[in-house]
Amino acid sequence: MIFMNDDKAVILSLQHVTKAFGKNTVLDDMSLDVREHEIVVLCGPSGGGKSTLLRTINGLEKINDGKIIYRGEQVTNKNIKNIRKHIGIVFQSFNLFDNLTVRDNLIIAPVKVLKKSKEEAIRQAQEFMDTFGISDKMDAYPHQLSGGQKQRVAIVRAMMMEPDIMLFDEPTSALDPEMIKEVLDAIRRLAQIGMTMIIVTHEIAFAKEVASRMLFLESASIRVDAPTEEFFTGVQDERLQKFLSVILK
């Protein structure tokens, strides 16, 4: 496990980010730094703004105030398309391209966006698929895969862009219990190679195992931000205790 290290470069920095949908403030003056090789796990009650936080980082939601800085560069409308290439995101509902085979799902972005050669992209895809134990699914269409397989393909699809940081929004919560492990194993592998990640999950045991830092998001704010050990043992916060007691039951 890699522990938080202040010497490491800050990849991503949110500074006083505010996001509202109409009158509903979903992110309220939120600040957060993510350093290289850190694995930040977000948890918190439903509606707390976890998904919205990930979506703003990826430019899928516009922020109302504050700034997001990626490797020293402020994210704007102009550069978001470029910055996105370095930020992988995996959604709860997989969002694979239904009209393409697994192979084409994996290679289309590297080929069309990064202008990689098709051969190189296929070779790389094959390698990832081998690692994640689904190399026999290259010619399948998404509808022919199980949920766990779909999610692993979605992870590979994001990894094909050689991202700097990966965002996961409840990657296992649409899955049957027996498929959760295979997806968590895939994320573990990314942890082993030092991938920087922000993960929203309710899998607390998994979070304990991989997270270098835990955040508790509640009513539009980061209520607790602590190294993993401390988060589970040393934090005196009534709401967090309540949340943990419910979720660990």
């Binding site: 430019g59 959604f91 009209n99 069309k112 269409y141 979605a154 994001a158």
Partner: protein, 222 residues
Amino acid sequence: MGFNWRILAGTRDMYLDGLLVTILYSIVAIIIAVLWGILIGSINFRRVKGLSLITRAYTTFFRETPLLVQIYFWFYGLSRIMPVSASVIGVMALVFNDGAFIAEIVRGGLQSIDRGQEEAAYSLGFSKSQTLFYFLIPQAVRKTQDSIMNMVSIIIKDTSLLMWITITELTYVAHRVNSKFYQPITAYLTAAAFYFTLFLIVQGIKKLMDRRAEKKNGLIAT
């Protein structure tokens, strides 16, 4: 009266020529109308500033006014401003009218696709137009292929209105045969039989496409 086979024997070549003209106009109009419909449907779906206002007005206007009025409008109106042949006007009228219907079908198909795939595309660095082109349009077309194929049948039938601008397609031939021999049942039933054959061919193609789509990605055409 009744059906007169003798007349048919004597006018066979006329009918075949007419059929050929009908098929040619149909194919050209279908190809262009589908492409045009996809283009306009996509613009309507995207709500491109300013442009969508125009394309939406166009779509509504051309769907809600009679095709024959539109054909006359282009034929007598446009040809006054610039020299255009009846055949160009004919294709154009069909494309503008039937293309507007296809545009609405395509827009509906685009709207029925879950937003998640679009967001996944953006997150991988695709632009809006790339996302439409690589992911959304192929799926919208596949989802709506039955409705689009219905429009194909309609376009084939719509070519019969082109007789009013001197195009000697199948219906025009039937008309001429009737005025020559005064045998309306033979004249028009023959034309109808040809149209129906074309419809059956379209149905066959539709079945093949359905089967292919099913095999390919299990998307059920609605």
